[in-house]
Amino acid sequence: MTTQEELPGASGTKRFLYVNRRAPYGTIYALESLEVVLIGAAFDQDVSLAFFDDGVYQIVKGQDTKGIGMKNFSPTYRALGDYEVTKLYVEKEALEERGLSPDDLMDITYEDEDDDWAEKPSIRIVSRSEMTEIMAAQDVILSF
């Protein structure tokens, strides 16, 4: 059997990018995306998340949902590292257009197994053109 050679990547993993473009509340997209990421993390693929347009609001710190009667699920983004999801690309222009800076985002980190479990930031700020390159390099893109 030689089918092994036809699989992408040496270990057969694919590159998955989950694209988040909408505000966290008001629609179910952000929460659904997060749940799909957490469930999909069991399949040992190369997973990244992208945040642009209003999607950047999903990972803003200090969210308070009391006034709208919805569960504040933003703390769950900080559990992504435990699920070995360690790459969160955030578009710089999307932040700037909304008057936000990287300091307005939550501290989302992961522990690097290959570096004595050192705590490292998961959020990577990228330009719009870098985001284009990141998207072009994926095998699968799921947009929410």
Binding site: I39, A41, T76
Partner: protein, 111 residues
């Protein structure tokens, strides 16, 4: 809707036994749920249940079983953070069954 009975009060649960109103949880209720699951709660059981409740408090999710095992290993050592030890405590799955007793939703990412 099925419910747990406790001191004349009822606490509703879904078809798998997870309580619907997370605020209704108490240690007393945990014992009732455990009894229903045929588990006698020891200090070792409580350690896992409390760990899950703390995890939920911080991250607002019940962790998948592989995440739970890894995190227990990190905080309590490898004698406890392994399949054998945790499945001995909770035969129907340390995440699924312990979450039920802890009054949390079914774990996210348990496929």
């Amino acid at each position: 809707m099925a419910a747990y009975q406790m001191n004349g009060t009822t606490v509703e649960h879904d078809e798998e036994g997870y309580i619907l109103e997370l605020n209704a949880w108490s240690e007393e209720l945990a014992k009732v749920i455990a009894e229903d699951e045929k588990i006698e709660m020891t200090d070792e059981h409580w350690e896992v249940v409390n760990f899950l409740r703390d995890y939920y408090e911080e991250y607002q999710i019940a962790p998948a079983v592989r995440v739970l095992i890894k995190q227990i290993k990190k905080s309590m050592g490898k004698e406890k953070g392994n399949n054998k030890y945790l499945y001995a405590l909770f035969p129907y799955g340390p995440a699924k069954q312990a979450c039920k007793i802890a009054g949390l939703p079914k774990p996210t990412g348990c496929v």
